[in-house]
């Protein structure tokens, strides 16, 4: 089985619109939305939820005022300044380390496990989809990403599907690290801007840290053809295959409002043709076809 993860470094580069288009073009595959913090893929693929699961994270400390003797031990131990002088724990500041819970001399601190999100298995018009919603202001996004990737590969295995297409999170932190480890290849969707270039460098550094090959796709390339050239030069320097360029086109927004992927919305548009070609290039790329690089768990 192979897994293609679409990432962008900087958000808002058209990553989700392209992931949706690719998943319309691919056969016999599963779609996975690993951008759990701000999941948008469902707005284009309209999943019909078949299974719904709770995602439990760590605990949060709660001091029971009845049992508390106000000895101050917990406040001294907490390295996150989460307990105020009235011995009330600030749930947002609490890291969930449980040190106060274990070391309270009278056992006055409870540590209820928090539900910090939900994940779903759904049917869509392009195939099965695994997706999730992280609770607002929650931690553990990396764990939720690992959880849905694991489910997606389990499901693909069970259904005999060959490919997982994953919409990755933005940035280079915890959720991205969880999303790219062990992937077959990454598609970097980058805009030709100074920020795009800057973020691409950091993202490819991260990818090489995890030894995952990258493919580059420049979106809205015509907004700055010179910068597009620089991105592609940088890609070649770093041995990243360039799979294509997508022009700037307001059709993307129109398709989004219609809740369709761009390749369905306007099949005959030049931008749709460009994306079909890019998909061919990705599917035929050496990175996606060299078996043996995937660490199977």
């Amino acid at each position: 089985m192979r897994e293609l993860v679409v990432v962008s470094g900087k958000g808002g580069t058209g990553k989700t619109s392209l992931t949706a288009a690719f998943s319309h073009l691919a056969d016999n595959h599963i779609v996975c939305d690993a951008d759990v913090d701000a999941a948008d893929l469902h707005l284009l693929l309209a999943p019909d939820v078949k299974e719904r699961h709770e995602f439990m994270g760590g605990g949060k400390a709660i001091v029971d005022p009845e049992r508390c003797t106000r000895c101050g031990q917990c406040r001294e131990l907490c390295r996150f300044d989460a307990i105020d002088d009235e011995f009330v724990v600030d749930a947002i500041a609490c890291e969930g380390c449980g040190v106060c819970v274990d070391l309270c001399p009278v056992g006055a601190i409870d540590f209820p496990i928090q539900k910090c999100g939900e994940w779903f298995v759904s049917e869509t018009r392009v195939g099965p989809m695994v997706h999730a919603r992280l609770g607002i202001a929650e931690e553990n996004s990396g764990k939720l990403v690992s959880c849905i990737r694991r489910e997606a590969s389990r499901l693909a295995e069970a259904n005999g599907q060959e490919l997982i297409i994953t919409d990755g999170p933005p940035g280079i932190g915890c959720p991205v690290i969880a999303a790219i480890g062990g992937a077959t290849a990454l598609v970097l969707v980058v805009e030709p801007t100074v920020s795009g270039l800057h973020d691409m460098v950091r993202l490819t550094d991260l990818a090489s840290h995890f030894r995952v090959p990258c493919l580059l796709c420049v979106n809205k390339f015509d907004l700055n053809p010179e910068m597009t050239g620089r991105l592609e030069d940088m890609a070649r320097e770093r041995k990243i295959a360039v799979v294509g360029r997508v022009p700037f086109d307001p059709l993307f927004t129109e398709a989004m409002i219609a809740g369709r992927t761009i390749v369905e919305y306007r099949e005959d548009a030049p931008v749709a043709a460009a994306i079909r070609q890019i998909w061919q290039n990705i599917a035929g790329s050496p990175a996606m076809n060299s078996y043996g690089i995937r660490i199977t768990s």
Partner: protein
């Protein structure tokens, strides 16, 4: 006054708004780039970095000659960052949340202070505005501690504008907590609206007044405006899609550089924010 410029969805123009607002403000204002995974404000403000500091966090270092393999450290660690296999303690520094629990419970005093690098904080004078930025080490997963350090590095006397990371989870919270106002940058598309709702949920949890900037205001539909009306979120500025702005952005130039008339609009935006902060403090008093 601390204004945190955030956006649920990435790429809506958060950095554009934060940098243009900061330069329009004039002196006495510092920009903090708390989008430490992808700090981009420097690409527009071109600060000359004159000071830089590596930020580290505590991780345990075990002195094997003292360790009796009692497992107390492994038992208290909720993050599986320290385990005992046979007679040997293993530390996984990248999983450690620096709670210090293992050190407190160790009866042999075998655990001393080690460090894991989180990233760097850099100081420099940008185009008319001092900039403090955080930059996470590639491969480091935990950004909130670095974000908190960047915020602590600012002079509290100053007007502070924070460029926050995108999303709605812990890094954004670290960049919004304790701010006087959240300026939420969005775009009038289904993705923009969906992520805006999540981000506004987070702001409401923190109880901070909030207003919107709609970017590329003429590309999309009216649902963001409808939502703003229903939620009583003031729309403080609309920026139309303009190829000139997009092209300037792509080369690292600010709106106020290519269209100086926008400076006035950003100043007005700042005035409106001040009014909103006042109004919300009155509303709070009334309640």
């Amino acid at each position: 006054m601390i204004i945190s410029v955030a956006s649920g969805k990435g790429g809506t123009g958060k950095t554009t708004v934060a940098t243009n607002l900061a330069v329009s403000f004039g002196s006495g204002c510092t920009l903090l780039d708390c989008d430490v995974e992808e700090p981009n404000a420097h690409l527009f403000l071109h600060p000359h970095i004159d000071r830089s500091e590596t930020v580290t966090t505590f991780v345990p270092v075990v002195d094997e000659s003292r360790c009796s393999a009692c497992r107390k450290c492994a038992d208290i660690c909720r993050f599986c960052a320290i385990t005992v296999i046979g007679e040997k303690v293993l530390v996984f520094p990248e999983l450690c949340h620096s709670c210090g629990g293992c050190q407190v419970v160790c009866p042999e005093n075998a655990i001393s202070d080690g460090q894991r690098e989180l990233g760097v904080i850099e100081w420099g004078m940008g185009t008319g505005v001092p900039v403090i930025q955080g930059r996470i080490r590639v491969g480091e997963a935990m950004s909130p501690p670095l974000i908190r350090k960047v915020r602590a590095a600012a002079d509290t006397e100053d007007q502070i504008i924070i460029d926050a990371p995108p999303g709605t989870s812990c890094p954004v919270i670290a960049a919004m907590r304790g701010a006087d106002f959240i300026l939420m940058v969005t775009e009038p598309t289904p993705f923009g609206l969906h992520d805006l709702k999540l981000a506004v949920g987070a702001v409401q949890m923190l109880g901070i007044p909030c207003g919107l900037v709609i970017n590329r205001a003429d590309m999309g539909d009216d649902r963001v405006r409808g939502y703003a009306l229903a939620e009583r979120l003031p729309i403080l500025l609309e920026i139309p899609f303009d190829r000139k702005i997009a092209e300037a952005y792509s080369c690292g130039r600010m709106i106020v550089e290519v269209m100086p008339e926008w400076k006035e609009k950003f100043r007005e935006l700042l005035q409106q924010i001040k009014v909103e902060i006042l109004a919300s403090s009155w509303r709070r008093k009334e309640r």
